[in-house]
């Protein structure tokens, strides 16, 4: 990130908190509207990795979550418990696991995924998948039980039943997607461990915040945090239109 001029010293102790936060807000706008290339590189890295991981986790997770909530099979409760436990996976731990597999010494080392955005996306997919599965399953379980009976009594076939059920839980799935997106966008552990925080390549907004904070550039850190919030807003805004009936 560009150096911040601190003629009278940046740290919190020397300036009022309000002034310090204000500096962050001003800089957030400066970074965005001056077209700061490092910031835009980090924004692009964040958007690319999170888009890929969200697409992958939704494609895999929604059908699995639907099946978990809809079907009745032996071991379902245990499986549900396992998925719910996975909601607590620490991101640094996922990062380490993915590193172990894609390090050149690891089983998938040949693919050259370490220090790349696809590598980060794989880790983030593992992070998002349990969230999508668990929340989709919850949405399906919470579906009006009467709907099924009504549909069958109206002569709906299996196919029609499935489509109608999916349509009925669309808001639950949207909520699942947004929750997962929130975690994927904000995680640091996976991006740091698997991506390596490499400037112009795998430096995401969150690893940039960690770096700037480590360097004592607190205002830049706050500015980048605000940039991240703006992206989140840009994503959730269309989603809020979808929610309107």
């Amino acid at each position: 990130m560009p150096p911040i001029e601190c003629p009278v010293g940046c740290p919190v102790g020397q300036k009022g908190t309000v002034e310090f936060l204000l500096q962050g807000v001003i800089q957030a706008f400066r970074l965005l509207f001056s077209g700061d290339p490092e910031t835009f590189s980090a924004v692009a890295a964040t958007v690319k990795a999170s888009s890929f991981s969200m697409a992958a986790s939704l494609i895999l997770g929604v059908p699995l979550g639907f099946a978990l909530g809809h079907l009745r099979f032996p071991g379902r409760r245990q499986l549900r418990l396992a998925v719910d436990t996975m909601l607590a996976l620490p991101t640094v731990f996922i990062g380490l696991m993915v590193y172990a597999f894609i390090s050149r010494q690891g089983p998938f080392g040949e693919m050259g995924l370490l220090f790349t955005l696809p590598g980060i996306a794989i880790g983030q997919t593992l992070l998002a998948l349990p969230i999508v599965i668990a929340l989709s399953a919850t949405a399906v379980e919470g579906m009006d039980a009467g709907l099924r009976t009504t549909l069958i009594s109206l002569g709906a076939g299996r196919h029609r039943l499935l489509v109608s059920s999916l349509w009925e839980v669309r808001h639950g799935i949207l909520a699942a997607a947004l929750t997962a997106y929130g975690r994927v966008m904000t995680e640091v552990g996976i991006s740091m461990m698997v991506g390596g925080n490499i400037k112009w390549h795998t430096r995401t907004i969150t690893t940039a915040i960690a770096l700037e904070t480590g360097k004592g550039m607190f205002a830049t850190g706050i500015a980048l945090g605000l940039v991240l919030l703006l992206i989140a807003f840009a994503v959730t805004l269309p989603a809020s239109f979808l929610r309107r009936k």
């Binding site: 911040i4 601190c6 940046c10 080392g109 040949e110 220090f115 400037k199 480590g214 360097k215």
Partner: protein, 277 residues
């Protein structure tokens, strides 16, 4: 069906985003380096990398971690080259066959910094005397505590002072974080810490030349901080790009790059002194 078209629209957008996510990357030659936080945080690598690309057509990418993790990444064959600063650990690393062709590149020195008021009264003392005083007075001392080159050096200084290396003492704060983060913690706690001079100059620069912590102990020969490059051993790691790594070693040890290092200044102060042989 109004809502339906909205969802259809979203699917199309989602699909487009997915398709545009990973465009094929131009197959440029990329050299991957693991290095220490000081070479990155000071901005030195930002200054050197474009010159290296211009001279050789090779793009330099680096991940800035502590020396301990950098060595581990090399041992796991995940990087091609290392630029670190823990001579004893590096020699053991080469002896173990993980790295080859260790070459000294540049040095600066470590300094002990503390509050201008100097509550423990160590200003101007020798390193050993200063550490003994800090321990005796239980003045706050911030340690990296992360097995980095700086941390290894600090531990060796405690050993050289004759005192036991502190660990659980309440005044001894092990942050587990990078150098600038640790300096900031020391400043907040009004304590002492040890840093390389390059990072300290960067810190002073950030604070407009008026940093909350100042140098209290310096100049001891024991405080020399040597940086070296090593290639990851291609005999162990078949996938590493040893040809690119070797070119970097040759380039950075040659006169033009050595001059770039000497010319790298902040606030008019030189951060590193080139000393390649």
């Amino acid at each position: 069906m109004k809502t339906f078209s909205k969802w259809g629209c979203l699917s199309v957008i989602a699909l487009l985003v997915c398709l545009s996510v990973f465009p094929s990357v131009a197959a440029a030659k990329i050299l991957m380096m693991a290095t220490t936080t000081s070479t990155d945080n000071t901005g030195l690598l930002d200054a050197l990398a474009p010159a290296f690309t211009k001279a050789t057509g090779i793009e330099l990418q680096w991940t800035a971690v502590g020396t301990g993790k950098a060595l581990k990444l090399g041992q796991n064959c995940d990087v091609d080259i290392l630029m670190v600063h823990a001579p004893a650990a590096e020699q053991a690393y080469v002896a173990a066959g993980y790295g080859i062709d260790r070459r000294e590149v540049m040095y600066n020195d470590f300094v002990i910094i503390g509050p201008p008021a100097d509550p423990a009264g160590v200003k101007g003392q020798s390193v050993s005397a200063a550490l003994k005083t800090i321990a005796a007075k239980s003045a706050v001392f911030v340690s990296r505590g992360d097995n980095s080159g700086t941390n290894k050096k600090e531990i060796s200084l405690w050993k050289a002072s004759g005192d036991a290396v502190p660990d659980k003492q309440s005044w001894y704060v092990q942050t587990g974080q990078g150098m600038l983060a640790s300096i900031n913690i020391a400043a907040q706690k009004n304590g002492y810490t040890m840093t390389d001079r390059g990072t300290f100059i960067k810190y002073a620069h950030t604070h407009g030349g008026n940093p909350p912590l100042v140098v209290v102990v310096e100049g001891d020969t024991i405080l020399k901080n040597q940086y070296s490059v090593m290639q990851v051993n291609p005999a162990r790691c078949v996938k590493v790009q040893n040809d690119l790594a070797k070119r970097f070693c040759d380039w950075i040890c040659d006169a033009p790059a050595q001059q770039l290092i000497a010319d790298f200044r902040l606030m008019g102060k030189q951060l590193f002194t080139p000393n390649a042989k």
